[in-house]
Symmetry: C2
Subunit: 185 residues, 2 copies
Amino acid sequence: MADINVSPAQRRTTSGTAAAGAEPTGRDPAYELIELMFFAYRDFVGDPDHVLERYQFGRAHHRVLHFVFRHPEIRVADLLDILKITKQSLARVLKELVEQGFILQKEGQVDRRQRLLAVTEKGRALALELAKLQTERFARAIAQSGTTRDQAVRFLYAMIDPEGREDVTRMITQADRALQRGKER
Amino acid sequence: MADINVSPAQRRTTSGTAAAGAEPTGRDPAYELIELMFFAYRDFVGDPDHVLERYQFGRAHHRVLHFVFRHPEIRVADLLDILKITKQSLARVLKELVEQGFILQKEGQVDRRQRLLAVTEKGRALALELAKLQTERFARAIAQSGTTRDQAVRFLYAMIDPEGREDVTRMITQADRALQRGKER
DNA sequence: ACATTTATGTCAGCCATGTTGACATATTCG
DNA sequence: CGAATATGTCAACATGGCTGACATAAATGT
Protein backbone atom coordinates (compact mmCIF):
# COMPACT_ATOMS: atom_id res chain seq x y z
CA MET A 1 0.00 0.00 0.00
CA ALA A 2 2.87 2.29 0.77
CA ASP A 3 4.57 1.81 -2.52
CA ILE A 4 2.49 3.57 -5.13
CA ASN A 5 5.37 4.80 -7.21
CA VAL A 6 5.63 7.85 -9.35
CA SER A 7 5.64 6.46 -12.84
CA PRO A 8 7.15 8.16 -15.86
CA ALA A 9 3.69 8.40 -17.38
CA GLN A 10 2.68 11.07 -14.94
CA ARG A 11 5.05 13.54 -16.49
CA ARG A 12 3.60 13.14 -19.95
CA THR A 13 1.01 15.29 -21.51
CA THR A 14 0.45 13.80 -24.92
CA SER A 15 1.25 10.39 -26.29
CA GLY A 16 1.67 8.86 -29.70
CA THR A 17 0.62 10.97 -32.63
CA ALA A 18 3.02 13.82 -33.22
CA ALA A 19 1.40 17.21 -32.90
CA ALA A 20 4.60 19.10 -33.73
CA GLY A 21 5.80 19.84 -37.23
CA ALA A 22 7.07 16.36 -38.05
CA GLU A 23 6.80 14.42 -41.29
CA PRO A 24 3.61 12.35 -41.45
CA THR A 25 5.61 9.11 -41.76
CA GLY A 26 3.56 6.99 -39.41
CA ARG A 27 3.59 7.46 -35.68
CA ASP A 28 6.26 8.66 -33.29
CA PRO A 29 8.60 5.95 -32.10
CA ALA A 30 7.61 4.78 -28.64
CA TYR A 31 11.07 4.98 -27.15
CA GLU A 32 9.75 4.95 -23.65
CA LEU A 33 7.88 1.69 -24.09
CA ILE A 34 10.76 0.13 -25.97
CA GLU A 35 13.22 0.93 -23.23
CA LEU A 36 10.88 -0.01 -20.42
CA MET A 37 10.36 -3.38 -22.07
CA PHE A 38 14.10 -3.82 -22.27
CA PHE A 39 14.70 -3.06 -18.61
CA ALA A 40 11.60 -4.88 -17.44
CA TYR A 41 12.68 -8.06 -19.15
CA ARG A 42 16.21 -7.72 -17.89
CA ASP A 43 15.02 -7.62 -14.31
CA PHE A 44 12.38 -10.26 -14.95
CA VAL A 45 15.03 -12.79 -15.90
CA GLY A 46 17.51 -11.36 -13.40
CA ASP A 47 15.80 -12.86 -10.37
CA PRO A 48 16.07 -16.46 -11.55
CA ASP A 49 19.59 -15.83 -12.82
CA HIS A 50 20.84 -15.19 -9.31
CA VAL A 51 19.29 -18.35 -7.92
CA LEU A 52 20.57 -20.47 -10.78
CA GLU A 53 24.14 -19.47 -10.03
CA ARG A 54 23.96 -21.74 -7.02
CA TYR A 55 23.88 -24.72 -9.36
CA GLN A 56 26.07 -23.22 -12.05
CA PHE A 57 23.09 -23.07 -14.31
CA GLY A 58 22.24 -20.38 -16.82
CA ARG A 59 19.10 -19.14 -18.50
CA ALA A 60 19.14 -22.01 -20.92
CA HIS A 61 18.79 -24.41 -18.01
CA HIS A 62 15.98 -22.33 -16.61
CA ARG A 63 14.00 -22.44 -19.80
CA VAL A 64 14.39 -26.18 -20.17
CA LEU A 65 13.55 -26.85 -16.55
CA HIS A 66 10.53 -24.58 -16.69
CA PHE A 67 8.95 -26.07 -19.76
CA VAL A 68 9.67 -29.65 -18.72
CA PHE A 69 8.10 -28.83 -15.37
CA ARG A 70 5.08 -27.41 -17.11
CA HIS A 71 4.77 -30.29 -19.56
CA PRO A 72 5.44 -33.52 -17.72
CA GLU A 73 6.41 -36.37 -20.03
CA ILE A 74 7.08 -34.01 -22.88
CA ARG A 75 8.75 -35.40 -25.95
CA VAL A 76 12.12 -33.98 -26.92
CA ALA A 77 10.80 -32.85 -30.28
CA ASP A 78 7.98 -30.90 -28.66
CA LEU A 79 10.34 -29.21 -26.26
CA LEU A 80 12.55 -28.17 -29.15
CA ASP A 81 9.49 -26.80 -30.82
CA ILE A 82 8.62 -24.63 -27.84
CA LEU A 83 12.13 -23.37 -27.25
CA LYS A 84 12.97 -22.98 -30.91
CA ILE A 85 16.52 -24.16 -30.48
CA THR A 86 18.37 -27.08 -32.02
CA LYS A 87 18.62 -30.46 -30.41
CA GLN A 88 22.37 -29.99 -30.06
CA SER A 89 21.83 -26.89 -27.99
CA LEU A 90 19.24 -28.61 -25.90
CA ALA A 91 21.44 -31.66 -25.42
CA ARG A 92 24.12 -29.75 -23.56
CA VAL A 93 21.94 -28.21 -20.90
CA LEU A 94 19.60 -31.17 -20.68
CA LYS A 95 22.55 -33.43 -19.96
CA GLU A 96 23.56 -31.30 -17.01
CA LEU A 97 20.01 -31.12 -15.68
CA VAL A 98 19.73 -34.89 -15.86
CA GLU A 99 23.16 -35.49 -14.34
CA GLN A 100 22.39 -33.24 -11.42
CA GLY A 101 19.06 -34.92 -10.87
CA PHE A 102 16.63 -32.19 -11.84
CA ILE A 103 15.13 -33.93 -14.84
CA LEU A 104 14.71 -37.56 -15.76
CA GLN A 105 14.11 -39.24 -19.08
CA LYS A 106 12.00 -42.32 -19.55
CA GLU A 107 11.29 -44.43 -22.54
CA GLY A 108 7.88 -43.84 -24.08
CA GLN A 109 5.35 -46.59 -23.40
CA VAL A 110 3.52 -46.44 -26.69
CA ASP A 111 6.49 -45.35 -28.83
CA ARG A 112 9.73 -46.64 -27.41
CA ARG A 113 11.84 -44.30 -29.53
CA GLN A 114 10.69 -41.42 -27.39
CA ARG A 115 12.58 -40.16 -24.36
CA LEU A 116 9.89 -38.48 -22.34
CA LEU A 117 11.15 -35.74 -20.04
CA ALA A 118 9.87 -34.90 -16.60
CA VAL A 119 11.19 -33.07 -13.58
CA THR A 120 12.23 -34.92 -10.45
CA GLU A 121 11.05 -33.71 -7.06
CA LYS A 122 14.25 -31.68 -6.85
CA GLY A 123 13.55 -30.22 -10.28
CA ARG A 124 10.00 -29.40 -9.33
CA ALA A 125 11.20 -27.57 -6.25
CA LEU A 126 13.66 -25.44 -8.21
CA ALA A 127 11.19 -24.71 -10.98
CA LEU A 128 8.65 -23.63 -8.39
CA GLU A 129 11.14 -21.43 -6.59
CA LEU A 130 12.00 -19.62 -9.80
CA ALA A 131 8.39 -19.30 -10.87
CA LYS A 132 7.51 -17.80 -7.53
CA LEU A 133 10.14 -15.12 -7.84
CA GLN A 134 8.75 -14.10 -11.18
CA THR A 135 5.20 -14.35 -9.94
CA GLU A 136 5.96 -11.95 -7.13
CA ARG A 137 7.38 -9.47 -9.59
CA PHE A 138 4.19 -9.66 -11.61
CA ALA A 139 2.05 -9.31 -8.52
CA ARG A 140 3.96 -6.22 -7.44
CA ALA A 141 3.86 -4.74 -10.92
CA ILE A 142 0.14 -5.30 -11.27
CA ALA A 143 -0.64 -3.89 -7.86
CA GLN A 144 1.64 -0.89 -8.18
CA SER A 145 0.61 -0.01 -11.71
CA GLY A 146 -3.08 -0.20 -10.98
CA THR A 147 -3.61 -2.69 -13.79
CA THR A 148 -5.59 -5.84 -13.54
CA ARG A 149 -4.11 -9.22 -14.05
CA ASP A 150 -6.31 -9.75 -17.09
CA GLN A 151 -5.14 -6.49 -18.60
CA ALA A 152 -1.57 -7.61 -18.26
CA VAL A 153 -2.36 -10.98 -19.77
CA ARG A 154 -4.17 -9.45 -22.70
CA PHE A 155 -1.43 -6.92 -23.29
CA LEU A 156 1.40 -9.43 -23.26
CA TYR A 157 -0.65 -11.80 -25.37
CA ALA A 158 -1.18 -9.09 -27.95
CA MET A 159 2.55 -8.43 -28.03
CA ILE A 160 3.06 -11.88 -29.51
CA ASP A 161 3.11 -12.38 -33.27
CA PRO A 162 -0.47 -13.04 -34.39
CA GLU A 163 0.59 -16.26 -36.09
CA GLY A 164 2.03 -17.59 -32.88
CA ARG A 165 -0.75 -16.66 -30.52
CA GLU A 166 -2.92 -19.69 -31.09
CA ASP A 167 0.00 -21.99 -30.40
CA VAL A 168 0.91 -20.18 -27.22
CA THR A 169 -2.65 -20.20 -25.97
CA ARG A 170 -3.01 -23.88 -26.69
CA MET A 171 0.29 -24.60 -25.02
CA ILE A 172 -0.57 -22.73 -21.87
CA THR A 173 -4.01 -24.20 -21.36
CA GLN A 174 -2.68 -27.65 -22.09
CA ALA A 175 0.07 -27.22 -19.52
CA ASP A 176 -2.40 -25.94 -16.97
CA ARG A 177 -4.52 -29.03 -17.45
CA ALA A 178 -1.50 -31.35 -17.22
CA LEU A 179 -0.35 -29.72 -14.01
CA GLN A 180 -3.88 -29.94 -12.64
CA ARG A 181 -4.02 -33.65 -13.35
CA GLY A 182 -0.69 -33.99 -11.55
CA LYS A 183 -2.09 -32.33 -8.46
CA GLU A 184 -5.24 -34.44 -8.39
CA ARG A 185 -3.31 -37.67 -8.62
CA MET B 1 -10.97 -2.90 -35.90
CA ALA B 2 -11.30 -6.32 -37.42
CA ASP B 3 -8.65 -7.83 -35.26
CA ILE B 4 -10.03 -7.98 -31.75
CA ASN B 5 -8.44 -11.27 -30.81
CA VAL B 6 -9.64 -13.86 -28.42
CA SER B 7 -7.21 -13.66 -25.56
CA PRO B 8 -6.41 -16.46 -23.16
CA ALA B 9 -7.85 -14.37 -20.35
CA GLN B 10 -11.34 -14.89 -21.62
CA ARG B 11 -11.22 -18.54 -20.80
CA ARG B 12 -10.31 -17.94 -17.19
CA THR B 13 -12.67 -17.77 -14.32
CA THR B 14 -10.51 -17.08 -11.31
CA SER B 15 -7.04 -15.66 -11.02
CA GLY B 16 -4.29 -15.65 -8.47
CA THR B 17 -5.20 -16.81 -5.00
CA ALA B 18 -5.74 -20.54 -4.86
CA ALA B 19 -9.21 -21.47 -3.73
CA ALA B 20 -8.47 -25.21 -3.85
CA GLY B 21 -6.93 -27.17 -1.03
CA ALA B 22 -3.36 -26.00 -1.51
CA GLU B 23 -0.76 -25.11 1.10
CA PRO B 24 -0.95 -21.45 2.06
CA THR B 25 2.65 -20.88 0.89
CA GLY B 26 2.10 -17.58 -0.84
CA ARG B 27 0.23 -17.24 -4.10
CA ASP B 28 -0.15 -19.51 -7.09
CA PRO B 29 2.64 -19.22 -9.63
CA ALA B 30 1.56 -17.06 -12.55
CA TYR B 31 2.71 -19.44 -15.24
CA GLU B 32 0.57 -17.79 -17.84
CA LEU B 33 2.10 -14.37 -17.30
CA ILE B 34 5.59 -15.82 -17.09
CA GLU B 35 5.26 -17.60 -20.38
CA LEU B 36 3.50 -14.75 -22.12
CA MET B 37 6.34 -12.46 -21.07
CA PHE B 38 8.83 -14.92 -22.50
CA PHE B 39 7.12 -15.17 -25.86
CA ALA B 40 6.25 -11.49 -26.01
CA TYR B 41 9.86 -10.51 -25.52
CA ARG B 42 11.05 -13.08 -28.02
CA ASP B 43 8.85 -11.60 -30.71
CA PHE B 44 9.58 -8.05 -29.57
CA VAL B 45 13.28 -8.50 -30.29
CA GLY B 46 12.60 -10.76 -33.23
CA ASP B 47 11.50 -7.97 -35.55
CA PRO B 48 14.76 -6.03 -35.29
CA ASP B 49 16.77 -9.25 -35.46
CA HIS B 50 15.55 -9.92 -38.97
CA VAL B 51 16.44 -6.45 -40.20
CA LEU B 52 19.85 -6.55 -38.56
CA GLU B 53 20.79 -9.67 -40.46
CA ARG B 54 21.14 -7.48 -43.54
CA TYR B 55 24.23 -5.90 -41.98
CA GLN B 56 25.41 -9.01 -40.17
CA PHE B 57 24.58 -7.33 -36.91
CA GLY B 58 23.16 -8.97 -33.82
CA ARG B 59 21.22 -7.83 -30.82
CA ALA B 60 24.30 -6.41 -29.21
CA HIS B 61 24.68 -4.02 -32.13
CA HIS B 62 21.04 -3.09 -31.86
CA ARG B 63 21.32 -2.16 -28.21
CA VAL B 64 24.41 -0.05 -28.76
CA LEU B 65 22.97 1.67 -31.78
CA HIS B 66 19.71 2.36 -30.02
CA PHE B 67 21.18 3.92 -26.92
CA VAL B 68 23.74 5.94 -28.82
CA PHE B 69 20.93 7.19 -31.03
CA ARG B 70 18.93 8.12 -27.99
CA HIS B 71 21.85 9.78 -26.22
CA PRO B 72 23.83 11.77 -28.76
CA GLU B 73 27.38 12.50 -27.62
CA ILE B 74 27.18 9.93 -24.90
CA ARG B 75 30.39 9.04 -23.11
CA VAL B 76 31.60 5.47 -23.34
CA ALA B 77 31.42 5.08 -19.56
CA ASP B 78 27.79 6.13 -19.49
CA LEU B 79 26.88 3.76 -22.28
CA LEU B 80 28.52 0.93 -20.39
CA ASP B 81 26.51 1.94 -17.40
CA ILE B 82 23.24 1.71 -19.28
CA LEU B 83 24.02 -1.57 -20.97
CA LYS B 84 25.70 -3.10 -17.94
CA ILE B 85 28.34 -4.84 -20.00
CA THR B 86 32.12 -4.56 -19.95
CA LYS B 87 34.05 -2.23 -22.18
CA GLN B 88 35.63 -5.22 -23.88
CA SER B 89 32.21 -6.49 -24.89
CA LEU B 90 31.20 -3.07 -26.07
CA ALA B 91 34.42 -2.59 -27.99
CA ARG B 92 33.73 -5.46 -30.33
CA VAL B 93 30.34 -4.37 -31.54
CA LEU B 94 31.12 -0.68 -31.38
CA LYS B 95 34.11 -1.20 -33.65
CA GLU B 96 31.92 -2.76 -36.30
CA LEU B 97 29.29 -0.07 -36.01
CA VAL B 98 31.96 2.60 -36.46
CA GLU B 99 33.67 0.79 -39.33
CA GLN B 100 30.41 0.42 -41.20
CA GLY B 101 29.58 4.06 -40.66
CA PHE B 102 26.64 3.84 -38.28
CA ILE B 103 28.32 5.52 -35.33
CA LEU B 104 31.09 8.06 -35.05
CA GLN B 105 33.32 8.97 -32.17
CA LYS B 106 34.59 12.44 -31.49
CA GLU B 107 36.97 13.79 -28.93
CA GLY B 108 35.29 15.61 -26.05
CA GLN B 109 35.58 19.37 -26.16
CA VAL B 110 35.80 19.98 -22.45
CA ASP B 111 37.53 16.73 -21.52
CA ARG B 112 39.67 15.48 -24.35
CA ARG B 113 40.02 12.01 -22.88
CA GLN B 114 36.42 11.33 -23.76
CA ARG B 115 35.33 9.70 -26.99
CA LEU B 116 31.78 10.91 -27.40
CA LEU B 117 29.55 8.64 -29.42
CA ALA B 118 26.83 9.67 -31.83
CA VAL B 119 24.98 8.07 -34.71
CA THR B 120 25.62 9.10 -38.29
CA GLU B 121 22.73 9.80 -40.61
CA LYS B 122 22.93 6.19 -41.68
CA GLY B 123 22.88 5.10 -38.06
CA ARG B 124 19.93 7.32 -37.31
CA ALA B 125 18.02 5.82 -40.21
CA LEU B 126 18.62 2.27 -39.03
CA ALA B 127 17.84 3.06 -35.41
CA LEU B 128 14.61 4.68 -36.50
CA GLU B 129 13.65 1.77 -38.69
CA LEU B 130 14.11 -0.65 -35.82
CA ALA B 131 12.33 1.57 -33.33
CA LYS B 132 9.38 1.86 -35.68
CA LEU B 133 9.01 -1.88 -35.96
CA GLN B 134 8.85 -2.18 -32.21
CA THR B 135 6.58 0.82 -31.93
CA GLU B 136 4.12 -0.79 -34.30
CA ARG B 137 4.10 -3.91 -32.19
CA PHE B 138 3.27 -1.85 -29.13
CA ALA B 139 0.60 0.07 -30.96
CA ARG B 140 -1.03 -3.14 -32.10
CA ALA B 141 -0.77 -4.70 -28.66
CA ILE B 142 -2.26 -1.68 -26.96
CA ALA B 143 -5.10 -1.40 -29.43
CA GLN B 144 -5.91 -5.09 -29.49
CA SER B 145 -5.67 -5.58 -25.76
CA GLY B 146 -7.85 -2.62 -24.94
CA THR B 147 -5.22 -1.14 -22.69
CA THR B 148 -4.11 2.44 -22.71
CA ARG B 149 -0.61 3.46 -23.50
CA ASP B 150 -0.21 4.83 -20.00
CA GLN B 151 -1.33 1.57 -18.49
CA ALA B 152 1.32 -0.24 -20.47
CA VAL B 153 3.95 2.27 -19.43
CA ARG B 154 3.02 2.02 -15.78
CA PHE B 155 2.91 -1.76 -15.88
CA LEU B 156 6.30 -2.18 -17.52
CA TYR B 157 7.76 0.47 -15.28
CA ALA B 158 6.54 -1.40 -12.23
CA MET B 159 8.14 -4.59 -13.54
CA ILE B 160 11.54 -2.98 -13.08
CA ASP B 161 13.47 -3.39 -9.83
CA PRO B 162 12.42 -0.56 -7.52
CA GLU B 163 16.04 0.48 -7.03
CA GLY B 164 16.51 0.90 -10.75
CA ARG B 165 13.33 2.77 -11.56
CA GLU B 166 14.57 6.24 -10.76
CA ASP B 167 17.59 5.76 -12.99
CA VAL B 168 15.47 4.50 -15.84
CA THR B 169 13.03 7.35 -15.53
CA ARG B 170 15.80 9.90 -15.46
CA MET B 171 17.48 8.29 -18.41
CA ILE B 172 14.34 8.27 -20.53
CA THR B 173 13.33 11.86 -19.88
CA GLN B 174 16.88 13.01 -20.42
CA ALA B 175 17.03 11.21 -23.74
CA ASP B 176 13.69 12.66 -24.77
CA ARG B 177 14.97 16.14 -24.09
CA ALA B 178 18.23 15.52 -25.94
CA LEU B 179 16.38 14.23 -28.96
CA GLN B 180 14.02 17.18 -28.82
CA ARG B 181 16.95 19.60 -28.84
CA GLY B 182 18.31 17.73 -31.84
CA LYS B 183 15.07 18.25 -33.73
CA GLU B 184 14.86 21.94 -32.94
CA ARG B 185 18.38 22.62 -34.12
C1' DA C 1 55.75 20.33 -11.70
C1' DC C 2 54.86 15.90 -10.78
C1' DA C 3 52.21 12.07 -9.01
C1' DT C 4 47.76 10.23 -9.18
C1' DT C 5 43.43 9.41 -10.97
C1' DT C 6 40.35 9.03 -14.80
C1' DA C 7 38.62 7.79 -19.55
C1' DT C 8 39.40 4.86 -22.88
C1' DG C 9 41.51 1.25 -25.69
C1' DT C 10 43.44 -3.30 -26.48
C1' DC C 11 45.36 -8.05 -26.18
C1' DA C 12 44.53 -12.67 -24.79
C1' DG C 13 41.76 -16.18 -23.27
C1' DC C 14 37.59 -18.28 -21.21
C1' DC C 15 32.53 -19.44 -20.92
C1' DA C 16 27.62 -19.97 -22.26
C1' DT C 17 24.63 -20.78 -25.68
C1' DG C 18 23.25 -20.53 -30.08
C1' DT C 19 24.25 -22.49 -35.09
C1' DT C 20 25.18 -26.10 -39.24
C1' DG C 21 26.41 -30.53 -41.08
C1' DA C 22 27.10 -35.32 -40.85
C1' DC C 23 26.23 -39.54 -39.15
C1' DA C 24 24.53 -43.49 -35.77
C1' DT C 25 20.86 -46.10 -33.52
C1' DA C 26 16.57 -47.76 -32.38
C1' DT C 27 11.93 -48.09 -33.43
C1' DT C 28 7.76 -47.67 -35.94
C1' DC C 29 5.03 -47.75 -40.07
C1' DG C 30 3.48 -48.61 -44.77
C1' DC D 1 11.53 -55.34 -45.52
C1' DG D 2 12.60 -50.62 -46.58
C1' DA D 3 11.48 -45.93 -45.47
C1' DA D 4 10.42 -42.65 -42.19
C1' DT D 5 10.77 -41.03 -37.45
C1' DA D 6 12.73 -39.88 -32.67
C1' DT D 7 16.66 -39.21 -30.63
C1' DG D 8 21.64 -38.88 -29.71
C1' DT D 9 26.32 -37.46 -30.77
C1' DC D 10 30.63 -35.61 -32.85
C1' DA D 11 32.93 -31.66 -34.71
C1' DA D 12 33.34 -27.05 -35.87
C1' DC D 13 31.93 -22.41 -35.71
C1' DA D 14 29.58 -17.68 -34.28
C1' DT D 15 28.04 -14.41 -30.96
C1' DG D 16 28.31 -11.94 -27.04
C1' DG D 17 29.09 -12.10 -22.42
C1' DC D 18 33.26 -12.36 -18.92
C1' DT D 19 38.16 -11.63 -16.35
C1' DG D 20 42.85 -10.02 -16.09
C1' DA D 21 46.59 -7.33 -17.52
C1' DC D 22 48.49 -3.58 -19.49
C1' DA D 23 48.93 1.00 -22.38
C1' DT D 24 48.00 5.84 -23.31
C1' DA D 25 46.52 10.34 -22.88
C1' DA D 26 44.47 13.84 -20.39
C1' DA D 27 42.81 15.91 -16.20
C1' DT D 28 43.37 16.88 -11.36
C1' DG D 29 45.27 17.55 -6.80
C1' DT D 30 49.02 18.86 -3.73
